[in-house]
């Protein structure tokens, strides 16, 4: 069986890719996709820890269900905001949306 460390390293790689994507990409939808990668890495970590270390084996999976729920709510809201932003300033580039900066 695959040891726990493999899952931890895999989720570390996914999370770091997500961090890079959030910081480097300029399209707002791509930033959102990178956030999804990070959320997935975290859920994978929860489930792996629960499967190997938790005597109940279930707590991590329950946590992952709630992470997925909140992520779905977040995607819906974020895409509404992005569409709104595109309608107001005709761009989906996060660098160009700086009305709040002064």
């Amino acid at each position: 069986m695959v040891p726990l460390e493999n899952y931890l390293v895999l989720s570390a790689i996914l999370f770091s890719l997500g961090v890079y994507g959030v910081l480097a990409r300029r399209n707002a939808v791509l930033v959102l996709m990178a956030v999804e990668l990070m959320l997935n890495a975290v859920s994978l970590n929860f489930v792996a820890f629960a499967a190997y270390l938790d005597p109940d084996k279930i707590t991590g999976a329950i946590f992952a269900v709630f992470v997925i729920t909140v992520a779905a709510a977040e995607v819906g809201l974020a895409l509404a905001i992005i569409i709104r932003m595109f309608r107001n300033s005709a761009t989906a580039n996060v660098d160009e949306v700086a009305q709040l900066k002064w």
Binding site: M1, L4, E5, N6, Y7, L8, V9, L10, A12, I13, L14, S16, L17, G18, V19, Y20, G21, L23, A24, R25, R26, N27, A28, V29, M33, E36, L37, N40, S43, L44, V47, A48, A51, Y52, L53, K57, I58, A61, I62, A64, V65, F66, I68, T69, V70, A72, A73, V75, G76, L77, L79, A80, I81, I82, I83, F86, T91, A92, N93, D95
Partner: protein, 167 residues
């Protein structure tokens, strides 16, 4: 043994597809790669024998969320003509430093720490019955709060994205 080989194949595919999401030049390709990456994480849930989560991952993420993202991508497309925009801003080197540094720290911790218990133990199977009992009985109140959160978020999203009078 066969499981381990399969695990490595799926892990490599997941990492490659996630790198595709972040580094791809076309936003549409990124979205397609994202579907594969999320399915790869779903396959990891299968290896961890959490059936329900794997199903949810394939249905909610692979289906609903990616369709939503693709729709938003198409609604916010810039003109197809002209030079393709640079995918990354001037901050990309610093982002690479941040991501690489975090990766080094996380991998160092994951490998160096001696985890308690038998970490090479085969995880026991978590059936959908066990999962539903935990979700509806033991974790009932948080479940209800999560559904209210979803309702409020989706109503808010509709109000935000709505076309207003005179716009």
């Amino acid at each position: 043994m066969a499981t381990e080989v399969l695990w490595w194949i799926f892990a490599a595919a997941t990492v490659a597809l996630s790198a595709g999401v972040v580094f791809s030049r076309s936003v549409l390709h990124s979205a397609i790669f994202l579907i594969g990456s999320l399915a790869g994480v779903g396959a990891m849930y299968v290896f961890l024998t959490v059936d329900f989560l794997a199903l949810v991952q394939f249905l909610i993420y692979g289906g609903a969320v990616t369709v939503l993202i693709l729709l938003a991508l198409m609604l916010t497309r810039q003109g197809a003509t002209g030079v393709p925009e640079a995918v990354s801003g001037s901050q990309a080197p610093f982002a690479a430093i941040a991501g690489g540094g975090l990766l080094a720290i996380l991998m160092g911790v994951a490998v160096a720490v001696k985890w308690p218990g038998d970490v090479s133990d085969k995880p026991s199977h978590i059936s959908i019955e066990v999962m539903s009992k935990a979700l509806f009985v033991d974790y009932g109140p948080p479940f209800i709060i999560a559904s209210v959160l979803l309702l409020v978020a989706l109503v808010g999203a509709i109000i935000l994205a709505r076309q207003e009078e005179g716009e």
